[in-house]
Amino acid sequence: MELPQYCAYWFVRRRLGVATDNQLPADDPVDPTVDKSELAASLATAVNRAQMRVWPHVILVDPVRLGSDAAQWKTVFAVRDALLLSAYSPEGADVKVPAAFADYIVTRWIHRYVWKVDIGVRPLDKPLPNNYGGQEKRLLAEALNATVHQCGLTVNAEAALGESGAWKTVATVRQTYLKHVKSGRD
């Protein structure tokens, strides 16, 4: 699993009632009592509300396409894969759609650690707070490295720690993790 898959997995898990985004993914069966058409509709709504980006392109989910095979969904990973496949960029086919999912989950982690908030609509890039010096950035890097590991992914922790001193904005933190997070167990 890689960052885009983990983000899509988290969207699915949250619709199924598990809100945390720092847990090891598990391919649990989807409860047969869950209305899968409703699940597809709510997933599309949640992703579209987030206004994820591969800058400057916004990434959306087509609810019709997502719901077309909903009856076949047996496990959480199957829903995750369907969600990724139904995502598209209105601006064209050249946009790397999964990158928007990776961008969003890392942005979410950063905002939870620094500003203690759950993001909804993807926030615009902004500077790290005035009270963030080198040691605060190092602590943030250590926490993000731990989160990546908790999610079953791997990260070049030393590289991330090494780059932390140069972080100035959310975008620079995010870029470090988009670059150094590797796929973990599926």
């Binding site: 615009l124 005035n130 009270n131 040691q135």
Partner: protein, 278 residues
């Protein structure tokens, strides 16, 4: 690491007493160099330089410095400190704030006169310090704006704070003009209220970045000497309006007792032009 340079002109008309600038910005951990020109009332123009910063030598171990040379007052003249600091701490999204501990040791250079009019002496004193730092940041207000064809969440008001308590040994001139080492307890609080609705111009392939338009900052510090019961405080407040992400104008006022001699009351209002070099 961001370097902040401030070139300041402190107008004499705004300085009611002896111009003894506490030149280093409180609460900022980035590297800072300031060059100042100021004119005390009934005196000639004089220059000063202040610097503060740190450089990580190895993980968690920093070389830190602070210097304030050129500002003059009755007893305390200039000072600078160079130390090694070991840091540890944690950040979590399950707690309302984060923390770190900094343990420092080093040398402090002091220029001071035992009393008003006495000869200025140079001293080099070892010091040790321990500091517990709590820090946090919150968006107080956000808004969803249309940027480059889609919605984006924009922080419009942000609150940032640092509360710390430090214990530090320091040589100080006592009220009877005797010099001895004392242990100081210094709780302090620094808070920033920032209005940040502005962002850099969007480009086709690069996301714009928000920047601080208005920053209100305040600091309150108590300096309490253990043993003889002496304690003094100072506060510092500033308002900065940024014209761009890198340039702004700051109005700052501070008053109180700033150094360990606890002898010189300082009260200064200044207007500064601020440049940030990224």
């Amino acid at each position: 690491m961001r370097s902040v340079w401030v070139i300041a002109l402190i107008w004499s008309a705004l300085i009611p007493g002896v111009a003894s600038a506490q030149l280093v910005e409180p609460g900022e951990y980035d590297q800072f160099v300031g060059v100042f020109l100021y004119r005390p009332r009934d005196s000639a123009w004089t220059g000063a330089v202040a610097s503060k910063g740190s450089r990580e030598l190895r993980p968690q171990l920093e070389l830190e410095w602070q210097g304030d040379y050129g500002s003059q007052s009755e007893v305390s003249k200039n000072s600078g400190a160079l130390g090694l600091t070991y840091n540890f701490g944690a950040t979590s999204w399950d707690t309302p704030f984060d923390w770190r501990v900094a343990l420092s040791g080093g040398l402090e250079h002091q220029r001071a006169a035992q009393s008003a009019g006495a000869d200025v002496e140079n001293r080099l004193n070892p010091f040790g310090a321990g500091k517990l730092i709590l820090f946090g940041a919150r968006p107080l207000q956000t808004a969803v704006r249309q940027i480059a064809g889609a919605s984006a969440d924009v922080t419009t008001v942000e609150f940032v704070w640092v509360v710390d308590a430090s214990l530090q040994t320091a040589d100080a001139i006592h009220p009877d003009n005797r010099t001895a080492q004392r242990l100081f307890l210094s709780p302090s609080m620094v808070a920033w209220l920032s209005v940040i609705p502005a962002f850099t111009a969007p480009r086709a392939d690069i996301e714009p970045t928000q920047f601080y338009r208005v920053v209100l900052k305040s600091e309150l510090v108590l300096l309490a000497a253990r043993g003889d019961g002496m304690s003094k405080a100072h506060w510092d407040a500033s308002a900065t309006y940024f014209l761009t992400a890198a340039n702004g104008i700051m109005v700052r006022h501070f008053r109180g007792y700033f150094d360990h001699n606890l002898r010189d009351y300082k009260r200064v209002t200044s207007v500064m032009l601020v440049w940030k070099f990224q």
